[in-house]
């Protein structure tokens, strides 16, 4: 992967400060995201205490012990990092970033490191390093390409994740994420976008009317059905932003006779804990799981959202019963299975414009969902072009790792984080960019707007909605072609 480094003008745009000087002064923190006020005196000590507590109660020490021994700082990850490729700043090389935290670990939490440090009187964690970490760890989009490339197997994304976790324990975390999870776990609405239940019902009724009008068959969003096979939870923002994605999913269930339900008690799969705090991550997972138990569904089905799918799939077993936990699927797995079983019929050639598919990092990097959507797309799109690299090696949309929700860093996301992606998209000349992830969709829409690329960002089910065929559907409504 190669992308041209940004020029001076772009650099200025990407890194300009968003904060008033008095806020920076008060918080003694010059980062580009908003942070809630926190205790600024004694931050290094607080950081070390939080770090120590985390090491005591988790398995991170095992990983860190290994990483500090094998880290060769060879910088092979540099060629894989879209952020470094764009900034050309040595501080953005993944192993440089990781070393910020590894050196703290080495100095304060290993025998030899603390011995040498005490003898020479050097290496104490300073407030300056805490500030450096606060900036650096949020310059990363957590796409994990570096992790695949590292010859000694250092998981840089895990180190960044841990660094953010420790920082959040001392009050340094992007406010956008903090207020969202606060509403989700402690607020009145119980979801990150603060959608009240009456608004949810109104929205779904509105969509049901539209679908019946457009498809000529009744298509429903079943609410609170006890004993349904799937508890369906999308990123809650879909109920505000992604009408067509939800309609496509409902249409797939209607066409295949699937048993599913949305819970009005909890309808948000977003888990920002993945991006900044393991304790939050666990609480959100438990909240999701208790809902599947309450409604006695067989499985959890996550909508078009990468991080939500990844957290549910990998952390439900961790926190909710191991092998005995109910299974978690992504909606594309269901749709794909229905297609392969012949229950879902898609009209070939429904979409004739050029389309391309963007792999969301959180479902593609581990090779979980790569081929399934492509096979679906080829079933009804006649002109499919691929971006390179793709699948497990894909390039991040530029808004991963929670950064997309931080509006104040949009210029950074669309100038630096998403630069390599923008090059890829431009090279395809595609009319439709299919991105089955709420996070990627938001970022890519902002990216194509800011980078002036003429292409429409859609979800996979948005297009499936156009191509889906129903039994008993009025003839004139079959294969309703695109209306643009």
């Amino acid at each position: 992967m190669r992308t041209q480094p940004i020029n001076e003008q772009e650099r200025e745009r990407a890194f300009s400060s968003v904060k008033k000087p008095e806020v920076t002064e008060r918080q003694q923190l010059d980062v580009r995201y908003h942070v809630e006020d926190h205790e600024v005196t004694g931050r290094p000590r607080a950081f070390l205490e939080a770090f120590a507590a985390i090491l005591r109660h988790t398995n991170y020490r095992m990983a860190l012990e290994h990483f500090v021994r094998v880290s060769a700082k060879c910088a092979r990850c540099a060629v894989q990092c879209p952020v470094y490729q764009a900034t050309n700043d040595v501080k953005d090389i993944p192993c440089y970033r990781s070393e910020l935290l590894l050196s703290v670990y080495r100095r304060h939490f290993t025998m030899s490191g603390s011995l040498i440090g005490r003898l020479t009187g050097t290496g104490h964690l300073t407030d300056e390093t805490v500030q450096q970490m606060a900036e650096s760890f949020w310059n990363c989009t957590a796409c994990r390409r570096c992790t695949i490339e590292c010859p000694v197997g250092i998981d840089h994304a895990l180190i960044t994740h841990l660094g953010r976790f420790i920082l959040s324990e001392i009050g340094i975390a992007p406010r956008a994420l903090v207020v969202s999870t606060r509403e989700q776990l402690e607020g009145k609405t119980g979801n990150t976008s603060a959608v009240p239940v009456p608004a949810l019902s109104d929205t779904l009724e509105f969509l049901e009317e539209d679908m019946e009008e457009e498809k000529g068959v009744p298509i429903k969003f079943p609410l609170d059905v006890e004993g349904a096979e799937y508890l369906f939870t999308p990123a809650v923002s879909d109920f505000l932003m992604e009408a067509e994605t939800l309609m496509g999913i409902a249409a797939v269930f209607a066409a295949t006779g699937g048993s599913w339900t949305i819970s009005t008690n909890y309808f948000d799969a977003i888990n920002y804990g993945l991006f900044y705090n393991d304790r939050i991550l666990e609480r959100v997972i438990r909240k999701l799981y208790s809902e599947t138990e309450r409604l006695k569904t067989r499985a959890i089905l996550i909508g078009e959202c990468g991080h939500a799918s990844r957290t549910a799939k990998y952390y439900v077993p961790v926190h909710c019963g191991g092998d005995q936990a109910k299974p978690v699927y992504n909606i594309m797995e269901y749709t794909y299975r229905m297609y392969k079983e012949g229950k879902l019929k898609l009209q070939p050639g429904t979409i004739t414009e050029k389309v391309t598919y963007h792999d969301p990092c959180n479902i593609a990097r581990q090779g979980w969902i790569v081929d399934q959507p492509r096979e679906l797309i080829r079933a009804f799109c006649s002109d499919v072009v691929e971006m390179q690299p793709l699948g497990q090696d894909n390039i991040c949309c530029g808004g991963g790792g929670g950064t997309v929700s931080i509006d104040e860093i949009r210029p950074y996301r669309t100038t630096v984080g998403g630069k390599a992606k923008a090059d890829q998209i431009r090279a395809t000349g595609a009319k439709y960019l299919i991105a089955p992830c709420a996070n990627c969709k938001k970022q890519l829409r902002e990216l194509v707007e800011d980078q002036e690329i003429d292409c429409e960002v859609v979800g996979l089910h948005d297009l499936i909605y156009k191509a889906i065929m129903f039994e008993g559907q009025p003839a004139e409504m079959q294969t309703a072609q695109e209306k643009g």
């Binding site: 207020v179 969202s180 976008s193 603060a194 932003m241 948000d268 977003i270």
Partner: protein, 105 residues
Amino acid sequence: MPTFTHGDISIEVDEDGFMEEPDQWNEEIAKALATTEGVDEMTEEHWKLVNYLRDYYLKFGIAPMIRKLCKETGFPLKKVYELFPSGPAKGACKVAGLAKPTGCV
């Protein structure tokens, strides 16, 4: 807490310029907030959008789904962006006095 001042108007806003107390909203405040969104004059079409958002918000406690907003006002999304260049969630909602949207919006 930052304060937004425009003419005789002085209100509490967050760092992104959204009202801290949406209940205090009135048309004069809307006009003032519009200037921060590059809208110097609120036309009939601007008001149609803002009033629809405001009514929905008072009824349901949140902004409507974008598809619903477009359908009910008759404005395609492109038109919404023409009216409020930062878009429905960040631009129009701000002028309608809604709180800043949270989560993945």
